[in-house]
Amino acid sequence: MFKKTLIPIGLIVFSTPVWADDIQYDLQVDGITCPFCVATSEKALRKTDGVKFVSADLDSGIISVCAEEQVEFTDEQLTELFLDKGFTYRSMSKLNQCTISE
């Protein structure tokens, strides 16, 4: 009886909660050359619900966005977003997990 009670409690206490998986978008953006450019792009991307953090590699011109699973970017949306910030969006690739950290 004791064993039967303890095992489920132990499982609950020591198990790691599982949330929706994070995904990562790698965005190829042209014209980004400086910390200012990264900051203004980050600010715009973070306004999207579900975006957790953003990282940029200026050498490759890739902005990586770690977001909750339900976040769906479209080419049209990103084209407009980056035009507003003064840059040119080219393409994106989607990964099923985040490889970047804040």
Partner: protein, 287 residues
């Protein structure tokens, strides 16, 4: 009226522009404000302090002047291509002419201008942009002391090119000054260029969110003679070329920068007081 424009011949403009390698948009020049970057819906604020020292001896009389300006610049991007700017200086001038001292301080003449991007070519890690601009210099200063009392207009063109390792900004600008109470400052034409070169790019302290730029700028200005009660003032106008080495520390949301402006050509007419140097320090924020 347009002789200032004639003085800036095409070879001069082209020559000065190519003194520095091609250039860009984002760290932006220290000695001129027209290239400040601002995105749609965002604000940029720059606070700049300049100290200019002038001295010489004319007909055995020593003359010197120290001008301190606190210049506030606010820019906003209402659309993707359009940016509007306001510049408000506070001026203090101290003069000593043959032992007779005088000073003036207060609001200087404000500047309002718009810039419209007409060309942009982005590629990975680089960009080239061209934007004409036009504006007004409003007589908010005290006439004859911290301002010249007239409503003046200006226009020009900004060319900017940037990579992740360097930025180049250049502008041509023409100011048409109008007359107020018998005094008309001469028109002026200028060509300015700024190269910002990224330093320590392989070091951790100067990566991604904080860049350090070494800066070299050149400014060529031709001033037409002033007119007083319809008569040309022979002790006004001329040509100046300044070289300004400086440094910028660029973080994601702010830039600190400083430069010293050194006149390498001070070809001013008559007894016009010549400037010795000018020191600039400024802080810039993006919101």
């Amino acid at each position: 009226m347009y002789s200032a424009l004639r003085a800036l011949t095409i070879p001069t403009i082209v020559g000065l522009s190519f003194l520095m390698p091609f250039s860009a948009a984002f760290a932006a020049a220290i000695t001129f404000n027209t290239a400040l970057p601002v995105s749609k819906g965002e604000l940029i604020f720059r606070e700049q302090i300049t100290v200019t020292r002038s001295s010489d001896t004319f007909s055995g009389i020593s003359r010197d002047a120290t001008t301190v300006k606190s210049i506030s610049v606010l820019g906003f991007g209402p659309t993707r291509k359009l940016a509007v700017f306001g510049i408000l200086p506070i001026v203090n001038i101290e003069r000593d002419i043959g032992g007779i001292k005088s000073d003036a301080s207060g609001l200087g003449d404000a500047t309002l201008f718009v810039r419209f991007e007409t060309y942009r070519n982005d590629s990975p890690g680089r960009t080239v942009r061209i934007a004409p601009f036009a504006g007004l210099i409003v007589p908010t200063g005290r006439e004859g002391q911290t301002g010249d009392g007239s409503l003046d207009v200006f226009g020009g063109l900004i060319f900017t090119a940037a990579t992740i390792n360097w930025v180049f900004d250049s502008q041509v600008k023409y100011i048409i000054n109008s007359e107020a109470n018998g005094f008309q400052r001469g028109d002026s034409a200028s060509v300015d260029a700024s190269l910002q070169y990224r330093l320590f790019s392989d070091r951790d302290f100067a990566k991604i969110d904080r860049y350090i730029y070494g800066v070299i700028e050149a400014n060529l200005t031709y001033f037409d003679n002033n007119e007083l009660a319809g008569f040309v003032d022979p002790n006004s106008g001329g040509t100046q070329i300044w070289i300004s080495p400086g440094i910028q520390f660029a973080a994601k949301r702010w830039i600190a920068e400083t430069a010293i402006r050194i006149p390498v050509v001070n070809n001013l007419n008559g007894s016009t007081l010549e400037q010795d140097y000018s020191f600039v320090v400024s802080l810039r924020f993006n919101f």
